[in-house]
Symmetry: C2
Subunit: 217 residues, 2 copies
Amino acid sequence: MTPPTPLHLSLAGQAVDVLREQVLTGEITPGSRVNEVEVAQKLGISRGPLREAIRHLASEGLLTLVPHRGAFVPDASPDDVRALFELRTALECAAAELAASRRTDVDLVRLQEVCAESRRNYKAGQPFPYRLDLAFHQTLLHAARSPYISEQVRLVQQRVVLLRSALADDPPHQHASMDDHDELVRAIADGDAAKASTVMRRHLSRVCAQMLTSLTH
Amino acid sequence: MTPPTPLHLSLAGQAVDVLREQVLTGEITPGSRVNEVEVAQKLGISRGPLREAIRHLASEGLLTLVPHRGAFVPDASPDDVRALFELRTALECAAAELAASRRTDVDLVRLQEVCAESRRNYKAGQPFPYRLDLAFHQTLLHAARSPYISEQVRLVQQRVVLLRSALADDPPHQHASMDDHDELVRAIADGDAAKASTVMRRHLSRVCAQMLTSLTH
DNA sequence: AAACTGCCAACTGTCGACAGTTGACACGTT
DNA sequence: AACGTGTCAACTGTCGACAGTTGGCAGTTT
């Protein structure tokens, strides 16, 4: 998906993976600063590759750079969340439209499987894992077959994960989300691009609202 | 617009500006490789800051990195152009919708001014400068007041400029574009988000087609 | 003559060290 | 006691040098 940038053997590439993991899991708490020498020692590499890794994560929006001060993991204001979801909505609505017109039959089966698994999980009393929500959106993205849109959505979703102070623990919200997903799949199955877009917009609007409420407690 | 990342005093930041300029103006031709030591010497800086600049431009899509081989300025295939315009359409249609509902009166005046200047230029027999087209889209973006969407559009537009093998020299195309712009402004003036989105989609579809034809000669 | 093999130059990846800037603490002043 | 000032440690920005890899060229073999 990304441009041919397989940084995955270089030290910088490995550092990107490790740091991204730590930032997304909250191992490095929002607001805290990333000390170059300290982290470099901890990773057993020199500052050069680490700096490249930090800059890369900054370009993904997972860190913010302040000259002569270093890199910080950003904590978002409500306005940030709203603006971010405007971007996400633009991208994912377009993806939903494209998916409705381009999806293959195996795409459809995969989407239905993810939905079914979510239901099973939910009825078993377990919480709707964020993992399955992510899987749904990524499957839809694959069905849209628009590499640049997919890539951008991936980046936006990462930033959303960073704000997951709002974990989807609210049962009615989970239920509504699963209903949205089901309706989305039906629209895509019918090839109804307009409806797919509309449902996606409503879905993301709901998720955004949920995040905003649990952000302000 | 960008996160607080004012790299504009550091050597790396300056190198980003210089290199971006050179790539966008074609001073560094597509397909050619960027030699780190050579460019570093030419800029009078060391390889460290230059590498950061290269990585940054790569994250913007203006360069592609190949491990152990270096950075290349990408040349696009028709499929790339199509996929890129799918992204651009998603973003700018959303921006048009938002602009229709959020624009202030001064936003409207600015949009009308840009259109008027384009007409004047055209009637004076001069070609429709890409500069004014860019100005229009950026003014619209400002009216949308969605920082993340604006930022992404900025990046996509850069990549489009990189492919400007299709210079807008075709008079009927120029005329159609100006008509699109005018119609877009009317829709935004009326606060008609749906129409703004539709017109924008048609406009970008036209521009994309134009690019594809002049890409294949 | 074509194909294979080994060597070589060029370049990227990485490292350790130096220089400049920032924020904070301690001290002195009013 | 509050405020302004000077100093200092910590950290980022930058540099030059070394190590590892890649692609190409020359030489050899069949």
